[in-house]
Amino acid sequence: MNNSQLINKSLIELNVHAQTKNEALREVANIAYNAGRLESGESYLNGMLERENTSTTGFGGGVAIPHAKVDGVLEPTISVIKLKQAVEWNAMDDKPVQLLIALAVPKKQEGTVHLKLLAKLSENLMEEDFVDSLQSANTKEEILKTITSIFK
């Protein structure tokens, strides 16, 4: 399985500027769109906003996992965004969020290979060591390596 199908360097951005949760999610959508993963950024953005309204994806420690399963996503995608400054997220521990691990899944996803990997990523986010190494990573290479290491 070629993991670059799920994530690659063009889906990782450091020092992203955003002042609010909505701006941060717009950046997530822009990055996925610019990487050729979306037909349009809007449906993904709206899907993520809708998901956040249902319940927060900020699961504590300054990390969030915004995600949406919507039409207009061309292939399952992971993107990782580090914000220059943490933004208010209404997170489970009320702490502002600086690290985003975002998922995009096509509404009509066929096959389970990618979904299994996304599930594996989600499970790993409950491991402190994994989250710590993502938070302390300073380069795109380190982040890419950390994420793809769990798929081996």
């Binding site: 998901r51 249902t54 319940s55 927060t56 994806t57 699961f59 504590g60 996992i65 995600h67 949406a68 399963k69 489970m92 521990d93 998922l103 899944v105 996803q109 389970t112 979904l115 299994k116 996304l118 599930a119 594996k120 989600s122 499970e123 790993n124 986010l125 409950m126 491991e127």
Partner: protein
């Protein structure tokens, strides 16, 4: 204690699996046995069967959506919480559940 759990969330791509992991880790820490079924984007996985139910002391449902085959648990002590509770503090979910017995 023998615990069964089902996790499910609307998109079924993230919190279903985070909650599963959270419950498994917390159960281990607290010295309980647990089997967690996920009802996510890949359908039912690690399905709870009749033989699992026979020896189960209680059932935790960490769900934000209607689950399939819920009637399996009709005769069991059920502790239902939002899926976020199992992501945030699964140990508390298990402690609250065992306190119901």
């Amino acid at each position: 204690m023998n615990i069964l759990a089902v996790t499910a969330c609307p998109a079924g791509v993230a919190h279903t699996y985070m909650a599963k992991k959270g419950l498994e880790k917390a159960a281990k820490k607290l010295g309980h046995k647990i089997k967690v079924e996920t009802q996510g984007s890949m359908g039912i996985e690690n399905e709870i069967k009749a033989k699992d139910l026979e020896k189960a002391d209680l059932v935790i449902l960490a769900i934000d959506t209607k689950i399939e085959k819920a009637n399996r648990f009709d005769s069991k002590t059920i502790h239902e919480v939002p899926v976020a509770a199992a992501v945030k503090n699964a140990a508390k979910v298990i402690e609250d559940a065992t306190a119901k017995l």
